[in-house]
Symmetry: C2
């Protein structure tokens, strides 16, 4: 942990009083982020970045296991290239940052700072794919992208953010659709198994899909305040970009065919979900599997002889088993407790003279605050088990919250009542008409989050217009 001179953790706003302020307070007090000099940009501080690095490493491993290669494409896109795919440019042009001058030179053509890189990959694939032997292309990059947002919040909506963007090209529709589904599964797995965030899996409506995609798959999670957050998306492009960029290959029968493409991304936005799904009024709660520090040793009465030595012995003993750290600074134990609670360290290990005498330590869980005395001889067994219990418990809590706030609405009265009284996801049937979707948004500010893969038939008619229902949709107010 960084040494710092803060002798106490400032109080944070209670989430029940002002959820947005609670979020801002936690982000700051837990030392995740600071503001950059240009409006809407962010500085991800060591603790925030260490969490992101762990998420990144977990994703990257799975990308490689499924045959993907990392690459690095340029930050800059010429304006003319961005305009090749019509839907795509319409979606992104309003939020592009433009470079118009390089050194002393006024540029003849404006250059766009990438908001996403489909067109660059499209151009590359057009040049580099000739035959079925060149397929599939399974590329990913870890990069920064810029979107000129009007209102910004750290992690949730920032002018620049970090993400990975996968871009793949395939010989057949079937293969590309399998890829699209596979990558969504990886996002769902990371959310549920590592970040302890339960997600809904489904397809975006036409209105909410990615600009230029044939369809978009999404995993959606639910925050403490009952608002949803899109946590990872995977897009199937069909042959749209292939037609726009002329990406064709010679198949085994000697025929020219367009490729089928996908793209998929997860970004630092997921850090926002991590904060808002698990955090409480004492700060962050970081799931053990993703926590940079899983257990923090806080020596008690450390000025007494032998305490610090024993605490360091303990650290050395445990560090091959769990990610453990020690705080031997001269801050008072109480301040340390507060600080590591704020940072959401899953387990605190207290050890003082009496514990040493009794050959035990005290384990304190961040999620429940429960304390237990554990004999030193059993610690190697108990600590990893406890971390797993914490992981499971915070997942279960989040799942309970998701389930308890998911309401079925058969008409707009029920819809609005649910939003008012128990904000969360609303299951409601939809006729498939985008005007109904828009009117729901206008009247409630809730948007369609996804058409779930697991369909149910909760009523016969569209929740808005009463016409024949086509499918079940999850709706929510969202970040």
């Amino acid at each position: 942990m960084s040494k710092n001179n803060k002798q106490f953790v400032e109080k944070i706003t209670a989430m029940e009083d002002d959820f947005a302020q609670w979020y801002t307070d936690v982000v700051k007090q837990a030392e995740l982020v600071d503001y950059g000099a240009v409006r809407g940009t962010m500085i991800i501080k060591p603790y925030g970045f260490a969490i992101w690095e762990n998420i990144r490493d977990q994703l990257d491993r799975r990308f490689k296991e499924t045959g993907h290669s990392n690459v690095s494409f340029p930050l800059f896109i010429p304006e003319s290239m961005l305009q090749k795919e019509k839907d795509h440019i319409e979606g992104f042009a309003p939020e592009v940052a433009w470079v118009t001058k390089g050194g002393e030179e006024e540029l003849e053509e404006r250059i766009c700072v990438r908001p996403t890189s489909e067109v660059l990959f499209g151009e590359y694939y057009a040049k580099n794919i000739h035959s079925y032997r060149d397929l599939p292309k399974l590329f990913n990059q870890w990069s920064n992208v810029v979107r000129w947002e009007k209102t910004t919040r750290p992690f949730l909506r920032s002018l620049e953010f970090l993400w990975q963007e996968g871009h793949t090209a395939h010989a057949t529709q079937e293969e590309a659709e399998e890829e699209t589904a596979q990558m969504l599964d990886i996002y769902a797995e990371i959310c549920e198994d590592y970040l302890a965030i339960p997600v809904l899996r489904g397809k975006k409506t036409e209105k909410e899909k990615f600009a230029g995609a044939e369809y978009t798959l999404t995993v959606e999670s639910l925050m403490h305040d009952g608002k949803a957050l899109q946590s990872g998306t995977s897009h199937y492009f069909g042959t749209g970009f292939a037609e726009a960029f002329d990406i064709r290959y010679l198949n085994k029968d000697g025929e020219q065919q367009p490729v089928h493409q996908t793209s998929w991304g997860m970004s630092t936005r997921i850090m926002g979900a991590l904060i808002m799904v698990h955090g409480d009024n004492r700060g962050l709660v970081i799931p053990p599997r993703i926590a940079p520090t899983q257990a923090m040793i806080v020596p008690v009465a450390q000025h007494k002889e032998g305490v610090l030595d024993k605490a360091y012995d303990l650290r050395d003993r445990l560090q091959h088993l769990v990610r453990v750290d020690i705080d031997s600074s001269d801050k008072k134990p109480g301040w340390k407790f507060n600080e590591y609670e704020m940072k959401g360290i899953p387990v605190r290990i207290e050890m003082g003279p009496k514990d040493i005498e009794n050959e035990q330590v005290v384990l304190v869980r961040r999620d429940t605050g429960d304390k237990e005395f554990v004999p030193l001889s059993e610690l190697e067994e108990r600590l990893p088990a406890l971390l797993e219990e914490v992981q499971q418990n915070i997942y279960n809590q989040a799942l309970t919250h998701l389930n308890e706030t998911t309401t079925t609405a058969k008409n707009m009265d029920e819809f609005k009542q649910a939003l008012d009284e128990k904000p969360g996801f609303i299951q409601a049937m939809w006729c498939g008409d985008h005007t109904c979707e828009e009117k729901i948004k206008d009247e409630t500010s809730a948007t369609s989050r996804c058409i779930p893969f697991e369909q149910q038939h909760v009523s016969d008619s569209c929740v808005y217009c009463g016409r024949e229902a086509k499918e079940l949709v999850y709706w929510a107010r969202a970040y």
Copy 2:
């Protein structure tokens, strides 16, 4: 390896005929890089990026072992902030890319796409450092930076490149200078022990130091054509940025003191060194310790029964020991040999029906082309040993080249003769006057590369002006 339909590796230009063209050919044929759409930008392809990832991981591990934390600072810097440190802005302003428009909005203040991030870290440290307890700050980031270069070449000089930039703040000059030296040692270690690139260690002259630094330490390497390449630099800033940005801390005696700062960076330029130090007329030669694939199995007569099975068995046997891959595509073995020679895979493992019968394989070294027959039973022992021999041999070759082309010059006739006849480093005494340095550059296009830490007294007078010599300098033409 990526499957591709290239049935042969195109001939590359011989380096003796046209070194620049040889470089371009290798970069392309070995599938390291392609050109981006905006002039001077590059696409780092899977094989190139895999090499960079290995370099990055080695560096990152050492940064963390020495107590540094990764962070992520913004891509964008307001123009007014860039101007706070006078020397710094003078150095960078001519090569900055400017964002002047965001979405539809004309910006009131131009925004600079970072060419380096000293000012952002300076601003952050000013806000976040208050007391000696806040020190040291040991930050690093892996990022992309943009410099609007007029002439560009892949890796060597590109509009955008990838790098890491470390930025640290310390209580004392001594500690900051130790950090500066420590980080240079890490660069030297990576170059010599991993990239098999011998380096000269030293200090830059005033003329060649980083804009705004008090001094710059550098590791310099030598390419096949006798030109030098700056391979990693570490800067000591003294209190210059602290004064410009008002970064002060309260020391233990309650006095306000400016911090002492450093920054240090290694970039994708090092990929250029890797190519030009070890490559030959058959392509790349990648040092085993950094090679994404250390050994490539090429089955011979793979259509014969059992050959492919045995080849896969071999891969499975070896893959926990070395980074091994297999090419079972339907390309002819000869084409495969060429392709992996072009890509510089350290060792090729050939295995055909006769080898299987004799329970042996053929190992072919990339560096020397030597073949050896190795009994299967001895492979686990022999292969790692051979990889180490390759690593040592290519380092020794590079060191021999460096030593054999390092000339001592006592006057400008000797200096120019050496550059003409045996291009490499020139050791020559210097009076310390920057006009001599400039005149040497004007007359020979050689620049001072470093004032080596290990000084020798090779003559009494300055190689250019004949006045009393102050110190030994290494000179060379450089990338």
